[in-house]
Amino acid sequence: MSWALVLALSGAAYGLKLLGSVIVGQRTMAPAIERCLLLIPAALLAGLIAKDTFTVGQTIGIDARAVGLAVAAIATWKKLPFAVIIVLGVGTVAVIRLFV
């Protein structure tokens, strides 16, 4: 691995992270835009959850992770503590992988 790649990637990654702050800056946005910005996490978190659960690379599929997610969803719905939700979800996947 070359240092050039490490540094190029560092620069690009930081530039992307900084971009949002530069665009929005210290301005106050119009209410419609503020509402859209508040929805970004909902759209992206749901996207990440779905991607991390139902895909491997570019292949769609269902495996132990889907069961773990279902358990976590129930735990979330039951308003269990954050740590418990994670332990239940991750534990479910680990146990299924152990026996299947």
Partner: protein, 234 residues
Amino acid sequence: MHYFRAPDARRFVNASLIIGVAFVVFGMSFGVLAVAAGASVAQACVMSLLVFTGASQMSAVSVLASGGSAASAFGGAVLLASRNAVYGLALAPVLRSSSLPVRLLGAQWVIDETTALVAAERDETVRRTAFWVSAPILYASWNIGTLGGALIGSNIDPSDFGLDAAFPVMFMAMLAPHLRTPAGKRAAVFGAVAAVALAPFMPIGLPILVSAVGMFFGISPSKQLPAETTDGAP
């Protein structure tokens, strides 16, 4: 850091330490993979310190490990890092009251998990606490893990412990408060469907950017109830 003395700090310290466990383990597996792909310990550590976006780093070293060129490693990693630009938009209101040097530091910590923790809150002060408490803890966890993995070099596979499910599971808990509004539900459904349905047809990292289009359900001002913070995870 006065944010650590804020009334809500404890809650975010706890959540960050829990997420931090996953960060240490994945940081280790990144360190191991990086060294196996031909990086020095210093290169692995500098990458985690300066790039600090796990999916991109993992992607870059796995492309190199499988014999890919530096250019393709770079391209794939940048594509995965591009969602941080969208998070930057969402976090800009949290950072904008700070001084320029502080905003420049904060930008480095704009990632999935800090955004998710901040976004579960409505109060501006609490949102700032969420960010400035969680970010340094997660940053430290990722870098400690990387150093450990790069030095030890023995192979650990997080999926043996089900830890590859840790991120979707924690995101599930963090998504919950957003599902209380009709617009939040629509954005989430759109985001989830786009991320999976487009996966076979687009390079990795691109479908999640299409998911972000779900934010435009916010244009119409219909029934946006403020999400409560008290019973939302974490």
